[in-house]
């Protein structure tokens, strides 16, 4: 078995593939956030809770209404999107004239409310959701056994991301959205119903989060805190990608998943060790860097990247300075 810095190629490929799965989640979730921020200048802190809601709606549908996975993929986002529209109409609308800060605080509060309600009803341990029959089992790829369901997750996410990107960047509807980002008043003057567009955009962003939730349900336990830890990572992804950039969040999301995979495999830490451990002064200087890229640090990777990117290119990798 050939090894690079203590990791077999097999092992690395395995981690990369797992990283790709995580990256797909990051991509869909950050896509929703980016769209909402791009058009509405609102930082939707409730995104994680809405993702969780999507998973729970699927579980509730299955347990009490006999709705199967495939229908849940459609109905759960619709349901969550409807809730999103109500939120926008009822509350967010009043904050547009104010500092972005208030939108963030409002959605932060909403996230607490949603999470608290679900925790009250369902406890923290969560419920299990079965993998749909069509997608059980896996394929032996030689270097690892790849569950079919996880392959489906990657495919579904990428397709949805691509479709969304295409609509926004290449269609007339998308051009209205982009125009609305730059100059809503002018767009309104052209006769486009901008408030309606904004409402539907928020709804769509929420629906994307819920879709990711349904995808996640069979893999992760459906529990009320599943969105809570994911949300700040997703924020970081959006910021790094460029706050309003659709392509930026997709690329960064997947990229982060892959980078996390490499970090988790231990290759970077081992590589740094191999290069510097025997060099007298450098090895202690490199130690904190090594620590930051050790497998346990995979949770911090995105924040390190974010800090660096923000200092060097504040608008993000693909963003435009507003």
């Amino acid at each position: 078995m050939s090894e690079v810095f203590g990791i077999t190629i097999q092992g690395l490929l395995g981690q990369l593939l797992v990283g790709l799965i995580n990256g797909s989640f990051y991509a869909i979730l950050s896509l929703g956030l980016a769209i909402i921020f791009g058009l509405m200048n609102i930082i939707n802190f409730a995104h994680g809770a809405q993702y969780m809601m999507g998973a729970f709606l699927a579980w509730i549908g299955m347990t009490y209404l006999g709705v199967n996975y495939w229908w849940a993929l459609l109905l759960s986002p619709l349901g969550a999107g409807a809730v999103g529209i109500l939120i926008e109409r009822g509350m967010l609308r009043r904050l547009y004239k104010l500092d972005h800060l208030y939108g963030l605080l409002l959605t932060f509060g909403l996230a607490l409310i949603i999470e608290g309600l679900f925790r009250y009803k369902f406890g923290i341990s969560g419920e299990s959701y079965p993998v749909p029959d069509l997608l059980t089992g896996g394929k032996n790829l030689g270097f690892m056994f790849f569950p079919i369901y996880r392959a489906w997750v990657v495919v579904a996410s990428l397709v949805l991301c691509f479709v969304t990107w295409y609509v926004i960047e290449r269609t007339k509807l998308g051009s209205y959205l982009r125009a609305g980002t730059e100059n809503p008043q002018l767009l309104q003057a052209f006769g486009i119903n901008v408030p309606l567009m904004i409402t539907l955009t928020y709804g769509y962003g929420v629906a994307l989060a819920a879709f990711a939730g349904v995808l996640a349900a069979p893999i992760f336990n459906v529990n009320p805190v599943m969105g809570s830890n994911l949300i700040i990572v997703v924020f970081a992804v959006v910021v790094v990608g460029g706050m309003g950039s659709v392509m930026g969040s997709i690329v960064t999301g997947i990229g982060l998943g892959l980078i996390e995979g490499i970090v988790k495999s231990g290759m970077i830490a081992n590589g740094l060790g191999y290069l510097f451990d025997s060099v007298p002064v450098a090895n202690s200087l490199v130690y904190p860097v090594k620590l930051l890229f050790s497998p346990e640090a995979s949770a911090v990777t995105i924040f390190v990247i974010m800090a660096v990117v923000l200092l060097v290119r504040p608008a993000g990798l693909f963003g435009r300075e507003r």
């Binding site: 605080l105 607490l112 999470e115 009250y120 974010m306 504040p314």
Partner: protein, 317 residues
């Protein structure tokens, strides 16, 4: 005139309540409120008076708590030196984080503070001396100035109150000084302040470091009160909580954060039996404040008072 009188009354109430509190409520509970009130006041210096929203203030609360805990427990420092060590660490951390974050503004500033705070959280999780998930337990309270046994709840309480008064006074003096005026100018209209010749970045950094140091002071004191330092204090949820306390009490008001902290801590304490509803209520408070009471309790009260008195004083032309 009214404002000056109102201020004096508020100071009086604060001191009286503080002196009498340990006899009316569980002293540890009162100490918790004081520590968080100091934390919120420190945070308010940044958001309310300089207009900078930091999402990573938990880093200062948490790191100071760990350093104080470690120096007192493992290095045998007396409590006063331990607290100083904690606050100084937070100040130094504030200088580093502040210097990096100040370069950007608005939401990007907030995001950089969040990113750096997450790195601090990670360090707290991994460093052996912090005990990771278990936390740094069994921090002795020690003898203050080698003569006061801090295991006595009353003695500990009055020390905490003294520290709180000191920190609050620092914030108060900062706000009401020429330095504070420049901060307010930066909050209101930064380009204008720059055009008037002020080195805005230096002012912002100074405010950030003061805020970090006082947050650290709160965290350091807290670890002696509870005799334990844990990851909860460095977690980003804590950063969100201090925002809530300040928002609820009134951003940019002097006494608001104290009220906000008292209310939030009380809610968590007495709400422990209702369990998850505490989270829901906390969220609901956020939502209601943002939609209807943006000036916070103290802000709204002050505005109401002003309206009432101005209606009484000046006849409409």
């Amino acid at each position: 005139m009214l404002l000056k009188r109102g201020n004096a009354i508020a100071w009086g109430v604060l001191v009286a309540a503080g002196m009498g509190a340990p006899f009316l409520v569980y002293p540890v509970f009162a100490m918790k409120i004081l520590c968080f009130a100091l934390f919120a006041c420190a945070f308010n210096l940044l958001i309310g008076y300089t207009g900078l929203l930091s999402f990573g203030h938990a880093a200062f609360l948490g790191s100071a708590g760990y350093i104080t805990g470690y120096t007192v427990k493992d290095l045998g420092f007396p409590p006063e030196l331990g607290i100083l060590a904690g606050a100084a660490t937070a100040a130094a951390l504030g200088y580093v984080i502040g210097s990096l974050a100040i370069r950007r503004s608005g939401i990007y500033f907030a995001m950089i503070t969040l990113a750096l705070a997450q790195m601090i959280y990670f360090v707290a999780l991994q460093m052996p001396f912090t005990g990771g998930e278990d936390g740094l337990q069994g921090v002795p309270r020690g003898m203050l100035f080698a003569s006061v046994d801090l295991r006595d709840p009353l003695a500990m309480y009055y020390l905490v109150f003294a520290i709180f008064l000191f920190g609050f006074w620092v914030v108060y003096r900062t706000i009401n000084s020429p330095f504070g005026q420049v901060l307010k100018a930066i909050r209101e209209n930064e380009p204008r302040a720059i055009s008037l010749g002020y080195d805005v970045d230096k002012y912002k950094l100074a405010a950030f470091v003061i805020s970090a140091a006082l947050s650290g002071l709160a965290g350091a004191t807290k670890s002696l009160v509870f005799q334990l330092a844990s990851l909860t204090d460095a977690h980003w949820h804590m950063s969100g909580e201090v925002v809530l306390m300040t928002l609820l009490g009134g951003m940019g008001t002097v006494f608001g954060p104290i009220i906000g902290a008292a209310l939030v801590v009380s809610l968590q304490n007495y709400g422990a039996d209702i369990g998850e509803w505490v989270t829901v209520i906390t969220g609901a408070i956020f939502v209601v404040c943002v939609l209807l009471f943006r000036r916070g309790i103290v802000g709204e009260l002050t505005a109401l008072l002003q309206k009432v008195t101005s209606n009484a004083e000046a006849p409409r032309p």
